[in-house]
Amino acid sequence: MATIAIEQPRQRRSADAARGAKRVGLVLVGLAVFWGLWEAYRWIGESLGITWPFTVDEVNMPHIHEMLSAFTKPLQPGGPTLLHYEWHWALFTAKEAVVGFLLGGAIGFGLAVLLAHSRILRRGLLPYIVISQTVPILAVAPMVVVGLGSKGVEPWVSVSVIAAYLTFFPVAVNTLRGLLSPDPRSLELMRSYAAGRNDVLWKLRLPASLPFVFTALKISATACVIGAIIGETPASIQDGLGGAIVNFNQYYSTAPERLWATNIVCAVLGLVFFAIIVIAERLVLRRAPEHFA
């Protein structure tokens, strides 16, 4: 009498693994293509003496293998390698980003839960929340760091505040959207069970909001890293990637590959943050396949 189910759960796992392997392969191919294009452009550019849009020479376009080997060379004669330094700078920046992420995420989430339950608060506060985002926080970064610094706040905390500011808006807005997403039928069902507001929140609204929350977290993860790096630059915080960028930029003409190497580390940091959220999403969300990106 039972009708055949549309999918069997067991098969999906091996299909997922195959898809993952294909993805990794694609990434490697992509990187290889990029490497090839870079070197090709450099070679053509130097041979033809291209000067527009920018002059192609060893300062503007170091070889990719030079950028990579720069990691293995010491920063100062006889000292630790660049990789050693980059690792510590990356951790420092990552710490700022993570603190900001958690702080902004918590505030955004809490705010969303509050607003989901009160139409009055929603109408009152939402405009301000939207307006708060029109302030280009990255533009305000220098003053936040200097200002809080004069109050005795450590620079990295100010940077975390900037990262938190960038996080709280996407999280608040998307979580709110998710909390309000259940359709009237689901709410009627809850009413038929005489379920109180708390039960409706924990059993219906929160689980329903998770896909939306993860969308926001993906945006926020990236924004936090960006905020942390940029936040470090005006105050030239020496311990992080932002400071390293400013320093290496000063000596660009003598050692361009170091700036590029640092940029690669920034890119990797951003990707790692993003990947963590994506993996977390896969693990936490058990939804219909079409819900994933």
């Binding site: 993805r23 694609l26 990434v27 992509g30 849009p53 920018f54 300062v59 503007n60 939402l126 405009p127 301000y128 939207v130 307006i131 029109t134 302030v135 280009p136 990255l138 533009a139 305000v140 220098p142 003053m143 200097v146 200002g147 004069s150 807005v173 959207r177 993906k218 993860a221 990236t222 890293v225 960006i226 790096i229 940029i230 630059t233 005006p234 990637l241 960028i245 400013v246 290496f248 930029n249 660009y252 361009p256 700036l259 590029w260 640092t262 940029n263 920034c266 890119a267 940091l269 951003g270 990707l271 943050f273 993003f274 990106a293």
Partner: protein
């Protein structure tokens, strides 16, 4: 309005030090005193943002159209675009300055362009490829060829998504231009003005500059939103949600 009054009150009440958060009246007065310099700087930077927006968004749309027309290319590239969006592209601003010259506005335009490219590409491509298959089947039943289907179904359907991307890009382009200038630029630029003012603890000027930057950002965003409303008034999926 209420917010500005609250700001004035709070600053006075807590004796917040002048350099942290000047009173709105102080900012307004500074704005008036320095309006010539500030406005010129604002326009200079806005031109960079606009140029970058046009370049980046234009390229993003073109590439999206390409990828939508040749599906395998699109599905292969999409993960890269999403990943590239996760890279702190702004960290490449110093390199742009080195390539194109610190004082050359194109260096900031390039940053803004790269910032705009990926969001516009991703959203537009998503819009072009998420058409209801039945709408396409209908066109096929009219013996419409691929190009006609593309023109009459996919492109109109993709407009809401594209505009979502353009709105993001409008905000990003302004931020990209200003932050790019933080890494170096001519003193006629708004970002440099703000940075220098901060460095010399001339916070009223710095805040005035920020207010101006915000104003340009809001203006730009509103212009895109207006264009969207004019061209997609038919779209039933636009909800009453102000941030959209």
């Amino acid at each position: 309005m209420l917010g500005i009054l609250a700001w004035q009150g709070l600053v006075a009440a807590f004796h917040v030090q002048e350099f942290l958060l000047p009173k709105p009246t102080v900012i307004a007065r500074t704005f008036w005193d320095e309006r010539g310099m500030l406005w010129d700087a604002g326009i200079y930077t806005f031109k960079e943002a606009l140029g970058g927006f046009a370049l980046g968004s234009g390229l993003g749309i073109i590439v999206a159209l390409l990828f939508a027309a040749y599906a395998p290319l699109g599905t292969a590239f999409m993960p890269f675009a999403v990943a590239a969006n996760a890279i702190p592209i702004i960290a490449f601003a110093p390199i742009m300055n080195d390539w194109f010259g610190l004082l050359n506005p194109f260096s900031k335009m390039a940053i803004a362009a790269v910032l705009c490219f990926f969001p516009v590409l991703i959203t537009t491509l998503r819009g072009l490829t998420s058409v209801d298959p039945r709408a396409i089947e209908l066109m096929r039943s009219y013996a419409a060829n691929r190009r006609t289907v593309f023109r009459r179904v996919r492109i109109p359907a993709s407009l809401p998504h594209m505009f979502a991307g353009l709105k993001i890009a409008s905000v990003l382009s302004m931020i990209g231009a200003i932050v790019g200038e933080y890494f170096g630029g001519p003193t006629t630029a708004l970002g440099v003005t703000i940075l220098n003012a901060s460095a010399y603890t001339n916070f009223p000027v710095a805040w005035a500059g920020i207010v101006l930057a915000s104003a340009f950002g809001i203006l730009f965003y509103s212009a895109v939103a207006l264009a969207e409303r004019l061209t997609t008034s038919w779209d039933p999926s636009r909800r009453d949600f102000r941030t959209e």
